[in-house]
Symmetry: C2
Subunit: 127 residues, 2 copies
DNA sequence: GCACTGCTTAGATGAATGTCTAAGCAGTGC
DNA sequence: GCACTGCTTAGACATTCATCTAAGCAGTGC
C-alpha cells in the first residue's frame, strides 16, 4: 500500500540502460480512493438482472415501477429481485417508497449521469 | 427461462381484487441478451484497479502506455496487472501492440462511449 | 548461444457474489 | 383480531473473481 503514493516523477525502473520505455502521464489519473468508489457504483450496474431492473423502472410510465411488476419480468424468486434492488438502492442508483400495499422504485438519474460522464470523453476525471 | 418472454400485455397477478398495482412499460426495456452483453462490459470496468488502468492509459502522452509504467503505479504483482489488462482487452475496451521489448496499450474509446451512452439520458436502449 | 529483462499463462486459494428456502414485517380487508 | 398478500431479511450454498507463486514465451545484447 505504498507504491500508488509515489510522486511518479522520480527515476523509474524502466530507465535501466538509459532507454525509457514510456513517458510520464500527461494529466492527473484517477486516484485509488475515487477508483474504489466508482468501482462500487459500476459493480452495482454490472449485472444483467440489475441492468434490466434499471431499464424496466426507467421505461415504466411515470418513471417508477412497483416490485411486483419487476419480479414478474424475471424467472427469479422475489427475494432475489429484492436483493438486487437493495444493491441498486445502496449504490444510490434508485430510490423507493411504500404506498399502501406496494413499494415503488424510481431511478436516481443524477447518479447514472455521473457514471456516464466518467466513461464519456475521457476516463481521467476530477470525480 | 420463460417468464421474460411474456408479452406483458396479458392480465397480471397484480390485478387481483381489481386493483392494478402499476402501469405497463411506456417504452421497450432492455432484453436479456443485450443486458448480459452490457453487464459483461460493465463488469470489466467495475474494478478499482481496472478503472485506474484505464485512467492511466488515457492520461498518458500519446494516449498509450507501456505495461511497466502501469505496473509501477500499483502495489500489485506483474501477473495481476497482466490479468486485469487481459480482462479489459477481452472486453474490447483496450488494445495492445508489442514494440520490441515493451508492450503498449491504448484505449478503444468507441466502446467506452457506448457504455457512456447507455447510462446517459435513459437506461432503455436500442443497444 | 546464453543470460537478461519484459510480459503472459497456468494453477491454487481465499473472498465476494448471486441464488435459493425459510422466516419475518407491513398493509389490507373481512 | 385474523387471514391474506406484498415485500424484505437471514442464512446457506455454489459459483465467480482477484490475487499470488511458479513457470514459460519473446526480445535484446553480449
Amino acid at each position: 500500500m505504498s507504491k500508488q503514493e509515489l510522486p511518479a516523477t522520480q527515476p523509474r525502473a524502466g530507465d535501466v540502460n538509459g532507454a525509457a520505455c514510456c513517458a510520464p502521464p500527461a494529466c492527473e489519473p484517477l486516484g485509488q480512493a475515487e477508483a474504489e468508489e466508482l468501482a462500487r457504483l459500476f459493480k452495482a450496474v454490472a449485472d444483467p438482472v440489475r441492468l434490466r431492473l434499471l431499464s424496466l423502472i426507467a421505461c415504466h410510465e411515470g418513471g417508477e415501477a412497483c416490485v411486483c411488476d419487476l419480479t414478474d419480468a424475471f424467472d427469479l424468486t422475489g427475494p432475489t429481485i429484492s436483493h438486487h434492488l437493495k444493491v441498486l438502492r445502496k449504490a444510490g442508483l434508485i430510490d423507493c417508497e411504500r404506498r399502501g400495499t406496494w413499494v415503488y422504485y424510481w431511478i436516481n438519474s443524477g447518479m447514472l449521469e455521473r457514471l456516464s460522464a466518467i466513461l464519456g470523453p475521457r476516463v481521467a476525471v476530477t470525480a
